[in-house]
């Protein structure tokens, strides 16, 4: 299949949210002119300088995004359909009750089942696109593709409005990816590399030490770091010959910034050995588990956006064995993260956003060559949100009895991202820096006529 065109996204707008149905007029007002709409009044004139929005009374200070790279199956995780039979469930046909009445999840998520009061499950996510690259882009940017602009993803937007432009002073860059960058599209989009994430490289799950590229150099003493830095200064003849050249000045400035991180204390945030062993065990000693712990440490030290790129969910083949192996890893890391954030009083100010680019076909492909696999499924997927102003213990929307269509309250990616921007105190109508000075807003405006299920007012 070629990448689906956006036209296929157009669906009738329906809305009967968690608190019952809502009159269509009210829905339109809230949906199209709510979080993503009302801002049109009182915007600066086109071409006016972009000024980062003040955080104001934002509930959320930070986001931890658990990116389920490849598209996790919704019915095998947070939207279980145990009664749908083997054609749909394979051998993963058991759901367990959570600590919130009536909410069930897959039986391989026992730790998360005890945390359900902390998060909300959105079971009616939809965009209809089945190609990884386009779907990843749509979900992570909250924008459709095809209008000639490549929008930045949420992390880059947060880096813009809560990063250095907005007075962030941390030495750790404001947008961190554990551990590898996205690859399918450019995270910063048209905003350019200033807003790209800092990808740590290395492995937080390493038995020895999490070696963050550039920050931690094992075996080089501080004395040697300082000595060779001096030597570099003495021997930089071209820099000395053209000291006023702006590129030489940039070399000096960036070198100082780099050494502030190498020689200062800021890099200690990456030292996971500072954590107690039993807590590290609870997170799981895997790359993902320790990435969750790392994310908490980063947020604790003031980093506003952390993405954990969690690979392996594109399960066309060997789906069921893979899920049995990976779900416990997910459960430990994600479940412990929620609990740990809450214990430390960080959950109220930290959004945790779990999800991938789409769901997976509920009907199992038993035929060769898949032999029990699941394909891409953009029509329905689940997202879990917690903290930072999101309520816990809620379920938004519903799917039919096999998880193949959204039955109730569709939520589009931009409904979710606009809601998050609001919680973060980022004005959806603020302008983004564009290299050719085009006026582009944080979230789609009413004039862009995106179909919408409305902002997630029922869970904020």
């Amino acid at each position: 299949m070629s990448a689906n065109r956006c036209e296929s996204l157009v669906m009738p707008v329906r809305h009967s949210g968690f608190g019952g149905s809502m009159p269509r007029r009210e829905l339109l007002r809230r949906g199209l002119f709510g979080a993503a709409g009302l801002w049109l009044a009182g915007r600066p004139a086109p071409g006016a300088a972009a000024v980062p929005a003040a955080a104001g009374t934002a509930k959320a200070k930070a986001v931890i995004q658990i990116w389920m790279w490849g598209g996790p199956c919704h019915i095998d995780t947070f939207d279980p359909k145990p009664d749908a039979g083997r054609d749909y469930c394979g051998d993963l046909d058991k759901a367990i009750e959570t600590n919130v009445g009536g909410v069930r999840v897959n039986e391989n998520l026992p730790i998360l089942a005890k945390q359900a009061h902390r998060y909300s499950i959105i079971r009616s996510m939809t965009h209809g696109v089945n190609a990884h690259e386009t779907a990843s882009y749509i979900v992570q940017t909250g924008r459709k593709s095809g209008d000639g602009l490549v929008y930045p993803c949420v992390g880059a937007v947060v880096a813009r409005f809560k990063g250095y432009d907005a007075g962030y002073k941390g030495l750790i860059p404001p947008y961190v990816v554990l551990t590898k960058p996205q690859g399918r599209f450019s995270e910063a989009g048209f905003m350019g590399s200033r807003y790209k994430p800092f990808a740590t490289g290395g492995d937080p799950g390493s038995k020895t030490r999490f070696v963050v590229e550039g920050v931690v150099a094992e075996g080089i003493t501080e004395e040697r770091q300082r000595a060779r830095r001096e030597l570099l200064h003495t021997m930089d003849l071209l820099g000395a010959a053209a000291p006023q050249d702006p590129r030489v000045e940039a070399m000096g400035r960036t070198e100082k910034e780099a050494y502030d991180l190498i020689l200062g204390n800021a890099g200690k945030v990456f030292d996971l050995a500072e954590e107690k062993d039993d807590l590290r065990d609870r997170y799981g000693r895997s790359t993902f588990g320790q990435s969750c712990l790392m994310a908490r440490r980063l947020v604790e030290s003031g980093v506003p956006y952390v993405t954990i790129n969690y690979n392996g969910w594109d399960t066309h083949k060997q789906h069921f064995p893979s899920m049995r192996r990976m779900l416990p890893d997910l459960d430990k890391g994600f479940g412990t993260l929620l609990d740990d954030l809450a214990q430390r009083g960080l959950l109220d100010s930290t959004i945790v956003w779990w999800g991938g680019e789409f769901g997976r076909t509920p009907k199992v492909q038993w035929e060769p060559p898949w032999n029990g696999g699941r394909n891409h499924f953009g029509r329905v997927f689940s997202v879990v949100v917690a903290g930072g102003g999101f309520k816990g213990g809620q379920v938004v929307g519903a799917t039919d009895k096999t998880g193949e269509t959204v039955k109730d309250r569709p939520v589009y990616p931009w409904d979710l991202t606009s809601t998050m921007y609001n919680l973060l105190g980022i004005d959806p109508g603020a302008t983004l820096p564009h290299p050719q000075n085009r006026v582009v807003h944080v979230a789609p405006s009413a004039a862009e006529k995106y179909e919408s299920g409305g902002p997630l007012t029922e869970i904020v």
Partner: protein
């Protein structure tokens, strides 16, 4: 073989550095040769500089020249041997001969195919979505055009008028490598790529008239996965309100299309006609900007009536030369590369604000991401891994591949992303970001990636081992390998002092020397 060259080099260095205090020797970046016009380009540039009372910089040294011209023409560092051979060559014609030789190197095609693949958005994944097979085919065609030095008008024409399968007739991918396949979107792509203009800023009727040339293009799938046929469909009806009913050239002249004729052919005839400045102005200006770091019109893809050239006669001269040579890009490149203007030192002789914009010195620029990682690999004799996020068909990248050879913008590495490789989303040149950042410095100064390359390099280890017998020679080889020149006395003294300080011992001294050199302004910039 190399040892022989080094011996000569070191002897030469020793004989010039005998401690005499007569005339101050120029530093390693310039020489004392008189700066004078060598041809029409220089006459025009220097006349302007005289008017502005800006003195030009000095002539660049041979060490600077050899490195610069390798990087600019083939995107590749000279080896230690190539550098020393050039530096000690006594022929007065050696710069011209080196330029000629580089224009025929295999890497010439690799490097310029990379540049064109950026402008043409050769990328399998989002938002271009060419898909790997088509991206590979398109890149191969571009590479062959560069290798064969296909005349520029033909190169453009083949893309504008192509029909057929995206896998088999590669230039059809021009019309697929866009975010918007509607006629105005295609017209914008043509305007940006070949006219260096942002058509979204045009008056609406101009874009509408040009879009009408692209209304008879149709696309259809085949039985092969992701194959797509692009063809001329005379009966196709366009309902897009942004398209004029009859085509008009961007200069306002209406076009006459015979019944059954593909309007793209009429457009291509007009566009590539010898008297038409729309094509030559854009490419001549781009070529200048690629070598001098800045267009005569800046930015090179934002040509507008209200963005005049800083030197109209210079641009006109380059255009004439291009037409007279039958659109031979290598001829144009040769002309620029042989000019005194191109061969000026990177150190300005004047701090006047117009110096850079009027080409009074060679403006240094940070190496492109690909060129930088290839240079690090070459210096250390190591390789890199590149990967594509697309699962199938599996994209195989040979272990020793250089990054300037990568065909597809979706094949990448963390390093390339960190150093501002363009995402190939729009084809706008400024997508490539060559500004140095703290994160990049962090990576070069202190990452395990770069450190491993240096510490585990058997190539560098061999040079270090030779230092046991002859440390001076080893240091010379290190400099030639990394900076394409020999060390100065000043550098030799600094290194000696570092060794004597006792802060670092043994092999670590040489490792730190390598570390210093690859982190220097000189290594990180073309200069």
């Amino acid at each position: 073989m190399l040892r022989g060259w080094i011996a000569v080099a070191v002897a030469a260095l020793a004989s010039t550095a005998g401690g005499q205090t007569a005339a101050p020797r120029p530093g390693p970046f310039e020489n004392a040769a008189e700066v004078r016009p060598r041809g029409r380009i220089d006459e025009l540039v220097f006349a302007r500089l005289r008017q502005l009372d800006i003195p030009p910089a000095r002539n660049c040294s041979d060490g600077v020249f050899v490195r610069r011209v390798y990087l600019d023409v083939i995107g590749t560092l000279p080896t230690a041997q190539e550098a020393s051979q050039f530096i000690f060559d006594k022929s007065p014609e050696k710069r011209r001969l080196l330029i000629d030789a580089l224009l025929e190197r295999r890497e010439y095609a690799d490097y310029w195919a990379m540049k064109w693949a950026e402008l043409l958005r050769v990328k399998a994944e989002f938002p271009i979505n060419l898909w790997p097979n088509a991206a590979q085919a398109y890149h191969r065609w571009i590479l062959e055009c560069m290798r064969d030095n296909v005349p520029y008008d033909r190169f453009v024409r083949e893309m504008l008028t192509a029909n057929g399968s995206n896998f088999r007739v590669a230039p059809v991918n021009f019309y697929r490598a866009v975010q918007n396949r509607e006629p105005p979107g295609l017209a914008q792509a043509v305007a940006l790529t070949f006219m260096g203009m942002r058509a979204d800023k045009w008056p609406a009727d101009r874009l509408a008239g040009m879009a009408a040339f692209f209304t008879k293009i149709a696309y259809k799938p085949t039985g092969e996965w992701k194959e797509e046929i692009l063809y001329f469909d005379p009966g196709r009806v366009c309902t897009n309100p942004g398209v004029a009913r009859t085509p008009a050239f961007p200069d306002g002249t209406p076009a006459r299309i015979a019944p059954g004729q593909d309007p793209r052919i009429v457009f291509a005839d007009w566009f590539t006609a010898p008297g038409n400045p729309w094509m030559t102005r854009a490419i001549a200006n781009r070529a200048w900007s690629w070598f001098l770091g800045r267009g005569i019109i800046h930015e090179p893809d934002d040509l507008r009536e209200d963005n005049p050239p800083v030197h109209p006669e210079l641009l006109a001269y380059l255009q004439q030369e291009l037409v007279a040579s039958k659109y031979d890009l290598k001829h144009l490149f040769r002309l620029i590369l042989n000019s005194q203007t191109y061969q000026l030192s990177p150190i300005p002789a004047s701090t006047k604000p117009g110096a850079e914009a009027n080409f009074a010195f060679y403006a240094m620029r940070r190496l492109e991401a690909e060129v930088l990682i290839d240079a690090l690999c070459q210096v250390t004799g190591t390789t890199e891994e590149y990967e594509s996020p697309i699962p199938e068909p599996f994209t195989f990248v040979p272990k020793d591949a250089r990054s300037i050879e990568l065909p597809d913008g979706s094949i990448s590495s963390s390093f390339l992303e960190l150093f501002g490789r363009p995402p190939r989303d729009t084809g706008i040149e400024s997508e490539r970001n060559n500004r140095v950042t703290a994160q990049q410095r962090l990576h070069l100064l202190n990452s395990s990636h770069v450190r491993r390359k240096i510490e585990q390099s058997s190539k560098l280890a061999a040079i270090m081992a030779s230092g046991k017998k002859n440390p001076r020679e080893a240091v010379g080889r290190m400099y030639l390998t990394i900076l394409s020149r020999l060390p100065t006395e000043e550098e030799g003294r600094a290194l000696r002092a570092y060794m004597d300080s006792g802060a670092v011992k043994g092999r670590d001294v040489m490792l730190d020397l390598v570390w210093v050199l690859v982190n220097s302004t000189e290594f990180l910039h073309r200069h």
